[in-house]
């Protein structure tokens, strides 16, 4: 996207993003022309007022929870700029302190420098969006005028100040903010970072003024972006001011985050790979490093009560983790009012991969995958975290066979409970196929065992490729569990009647377990034994992750081995999202086919078998005559159609 287009993005991201691309671009160009005309008529007061509003709008949204370097830099730079002029809060004290006491820094010199250079010059433009996008001026609410009039005097004062420097404020260019803020000069130690150049530990630059390249936590990505941003400045239509102060020299070690102002997108979306209540997940490529990443775009438009607490919880938890089998959060990104979580890209998820018709797993592969899963889960459980959404589509795999547990949207840390207290969590967690019986019976005082049931289901899935208990709602799910595992007895689950919903769902019959006859031949001997222990009805008797890792299954031959070779030969990427989409397409094709056949036969009755238009079910009679691929067959069988 060119700089020109970017600067004229419509004000509301979500609405505009739904428009068709062609119209959108045309409209953007039109907007740009309109804005340019408008700009000529605007005086600096309007500009100032809009800045104030936009700033307050942005800062009220941010909540200050995010830690992404991009976001942090934006926030800090805007807050520090406003603090000088509008008396708003500056950077948190602790950051200044931390940076000031860095070894080797000439504190005194910088302090003096600050006094000599410091001016009360405020930013002369509205702040940019976090991604550097400049939005057009939205319609002004009437009530706002009073608020802004207070500042007009200050603007007049400022104009006088600037007059001595022969800068015409009205004719100031309206380009990216960093260009304009070059009016400011470095001040004292904590203010040594020029606004727009140095945020809270942030850094940015334009043109030939290039500071030493940073290295560090954000690594090659940030460094490369840093390097590239010079190109983006060329495309900007803004002429930088001549008056330019000299940036203080910073050591590499003093740069903690890099503020990036680029005209182009750093992450270019490739395709959508997932969707949930939280929002959408895209596969994207980092245009600088050419590495693939996953962008999890948080859905904020449907949130009435501000930034979702579940997302905050997810970020908080993700920051705690450092394990090869748990997904790591690379960074956070704010762009066009959307918030993205950026993860390493994983080529497949377990559900998607298992639907691959040519995937033939061997015992050693399954063992390797399951061992990684258990190790990741053990790590989480040791950290007192319950995942609460263990399922195939949340278990990701890369091409080398490395497995990672992802999606911590429902995860939580366990409370420390004392005698007489209860943890009291919600039982509306875990996708229903992987939900353990105690949650289906209303338990709210649960623990790590709920995750173990899910991995038990996944162990079976690794062998059978289908989930063992596929219910549609709670009662159906419990029925499927009891049908296979048997109804609970007084011996194996004596205190089941203490569960809140047991009275409503007490089995009226004594059903024996069919687990052995169903799975003992499909699973290896030790795998079957382990599955039985993981799928114990009574949560207090269920295996823990540590116990599972000590099981004979992982000790006996064949030893676990990664399925690298198989994965490398697999074409494409297999995620549940895409395979589901494929299935839907295939089902639609089948339905169309069925409809055509039905028409040809001049409308046979339902009993003769075609399609029930209400349920979209394909009646069994037609199925054998239609060529179906494996995944469709599995889908229909899992839905009880075939």
């Amino acid at each position: 996207m060119s700089d020109k287009q970017r600067r004229t993005l419509p004000p509301s991201g979500p609405r505009s993003s739904r428009r068709p691309q062609g119209d959108w671009v045309r409209e953007k160009e039109r907007d740009y022309d309109n804005e340019r005309d408008r700009d000529r008529d605007r005086d600096s007061r309007d500009r100032d007022r809009d800045f104030d509003r936009e700033y307050s709008h942005e800062s009220s949204r941010d909540g200050g929870y995010l830690n992404g370097s991009k976001y942090r830099s934006y926030k800090s730079s805007s807050s520090s700029s406003s603090s000088k002029y509008y008396g708003g809060p500056g950077d948190p004290r602790r950051y200044s302190e931390r940076d000031n006491y860095r070894p080797g820094r000439n504190f005194e010199q910088e302090s003096n420098g600050a006094n000599s250079h410091n001016t009360n010059i405020p930013p002369r433009s509205r702040p940019l969006g976090p991604s550097g996008a400049k939005r057009p001026f939205p319609a002004e609410p009437r009530s706002f005028r009073d608020e802004s009039s207070r500042k007009r005097h200050e603007v007049d004062d400022l104009r006088e100040d600037l007059g001595s420097k022969k800068v015409n404020l009205i004719a100031l260019p309206r380009g990216p903010r960093s260009e304009l803020t070059q009016l400011t000069t470095p001040s004292g130690p904590s203010a040594g970072r020029i606004k727009g150049k140095f945020g809270r530990g942030g850094y940015s630059f334009k043109g030939s003024e290039r500071p030493p390249r940073p290295t560090g936590p954000s690594g090659a990505v940030s460094a490369s972006r840093f390097h590239n941003s010079a190109d983006s400045s060329k495309s900007g239509a803004v002429v930088p001011l001549k008056t330019r102060s000299v940036a203080p020299k910073y050591k590499k070690s003093q740069v903690y985050s890099v503020k990036i102002e680029r005209g182009d997108e750093v992450f270019k979306r490739v395709q959508q790979v997932g969707e949930g209540t939280y929002g959408k997940v895209y596969k994207a490529i980092n245009v600088i490093t050419h590495e693939h990443v996953a962008l999890k775009k948080l859905r904020l438009e449907s949130e009435r009560e501000g930034f979702p607490i579940t997302a905050i919880r997810e970020m908080k938890l993700l920051q705690l983790f450092d394990h090869p089998n748990v997904i790591g959060l690379l960074e956070m990104m704010v762009e066009y009012n959307y918030i993205y979580m950026i993860f390493d890209y994983m080529d497949h998820d377990l559900t998607g991969l298992l639907t691959h018709p040519d995937l033939h797993l061997q015992e050693l592969h399954r063992k390797h995958m399951f061992k990684q899963l258990m190790e990741g889960l053990e790590y989480l459980h040791k950290k007192r975290v319950i995942h609460r959404d263990i399922k195939g589509s949340n278990i990701l795999l890369d091409n080398k066979g490395a497995l990672r547990i992802a999606d911590f949207g429902l995860a939580r840390t366990m409370k420390i409970v004392h005698e007489g207290e209860s943890p009291d969590y919600t039982n509306r967690v875990i996708t229903i196929w992987y939900r353990p019986p105690e949650l289906l019976l209303g338990l709210t005082d649960y623990g790590r065992e709920v995750d173990i049931w899910g991995v038990g289901c996944l162990l079976i899935e690794l062998y059978t490729k289908v989930s063992p208990f596929q219910g549609f709602e709670e009662i159906g799910q419990l029925y499927r569990i009891f049908s296979i595992m048997g109804t609970p007895t007084l011996e194996n689950w004596p205190d089941i009647d203490k569960l809140p919903w047991f009275e409503m769902l007490q089995p009226a019959v004594h059903k024996s377990s069919t687990f052995h006859e169903k799975y003992s031949t499909v699973l290896s001997e030790q795998a079957f034994d382990l599955a039985l222990k993981l799928l114990t009805l009574n949560p207090s008797q269920r295996y823990t992750a540590t116990q599972a890792l000590e099981h004979q299954y992982f000790r006996e031959d064949p030893q676990p081995e990664p399925l690298t070779e198989i994965l490398l030969t697999i074409e494409g990427e297999w995620h549940e999202f895409e395979t589901k989409k494929q299935r839907r397409k295939e089902r639609k094709r089948l339905q169309d086919l069925a409809n055509t056949q039905a028409k040809e036969k001049e409308g046979p009755t339902k009993e003769e078998g075609t399609v029930n238009p209400q349920t979209n079910e394909i009646a069994p009679l037609l199925l054998p005559s239609v060529s179906m691929n494996t995944s469709v067959r599995e889908e229909t069988s899992s839905l009880g159609m075939a």
Binding site: G216, P217, W501, S512
Partner: protein, 226 residues
């Protein structure tokens, strides 16, 4: 004179409260209004907060919780003989002076006893089903006297919803109007004494978590020498 005034006040608030209750709708606002009024006039309305015979309620609650004492010797004999549970639920007559709370607890205990009785009886005497069985048969969903599938699902949902709502006000602390600041006593009561000492296991787990976090942070600093 004073007594008559008190009496008047009592009658007035009582009548007012009856009116509120009569016009009570299931909306939250209406319920809140009623609750607020009741709390405000608690002193005037003895009938609102009667003194229950605590011991009786506690006994019943204990009975409900402990499974062993629930079934009588007669029940156990009947279970052995495969006799279906036949005892009728306790129904308090309008003339009965027993407190409604106690009656309610008695019904609950009876229900629990029946449930446990039938559970043991089914396990001991009914044939073990090895083949396929329908959902309706497993949970007795076709029994008109019991809850239907839809009713069960609705109850589950409303239970979850009320559970969620109950947590929305957990953070609320009842503060005295005066003084305006938190006194030492209040702090001790509301906060300090609510935090208990950690067990050694909890303490070590906390240290582990903190240690890991420290390592993570240390490794993320670029000027870290280690």
């Amino acid at each position: 004179m004073f007594e008559s005034l008190v009496q008047d006040n009592f009658c007035q608030s009582s009548a007012q409260f009856s009116q509120i209750l009569a016009s009570l709708t299931p909306s939250l606002q209406s319920l809140m209004t009623a609750a607020r009024f009741a709390l405000k006039n608690a002193a005037n309305e003895d009938y609102l907060f009667p003194h229950f015979p605590q011991t009786n309620v506690q006994e019943l609650m204990l009975k409900y919780e402990t499974q062993n004492e629930l079934l009588t010797a007669e029940d156990l004999t009947n279970i052995e003989n495969d006799v279906p549970f036949s005892e009728q639920p306790p129904t308090p007559s309008p003339q009965d002076t027993e407190d409604p709370l106690i009656s309610a607890w008695k019904i609950l205990v009876w229900k629990k006893r029946q449930s446990r009785y039938e559970r043991i009886r089914i396990q001991k005497h009914s044939d073990v089903i090895t083949g396929e069985i329908q959902e309706e048969e497993m949970f007795n969903l076709d029994d008109k006297q019991l809850l239907s599938r839809q009713q069960i699902t609705m109850r589950m949902e409303s239970d979850r919803e009320s559970h969620k709502r109950s947590k929305e006000t957990l953070w609320i602390v009842n503060r005295p109007h005066e003084p305006n600041y938190v006194t030492e006593e209040e702090f001790a009561h509301n906060y300090w004494n609510k935090v208990q000492k950690m067990s050694s296991e909890e303490y070590s787990s906390l240290l582990d978590v903190l240690g890991d976090l420290n390592k993570l942070v240390r490794s993320s600093f670029k000027d870290n020498i280690a």
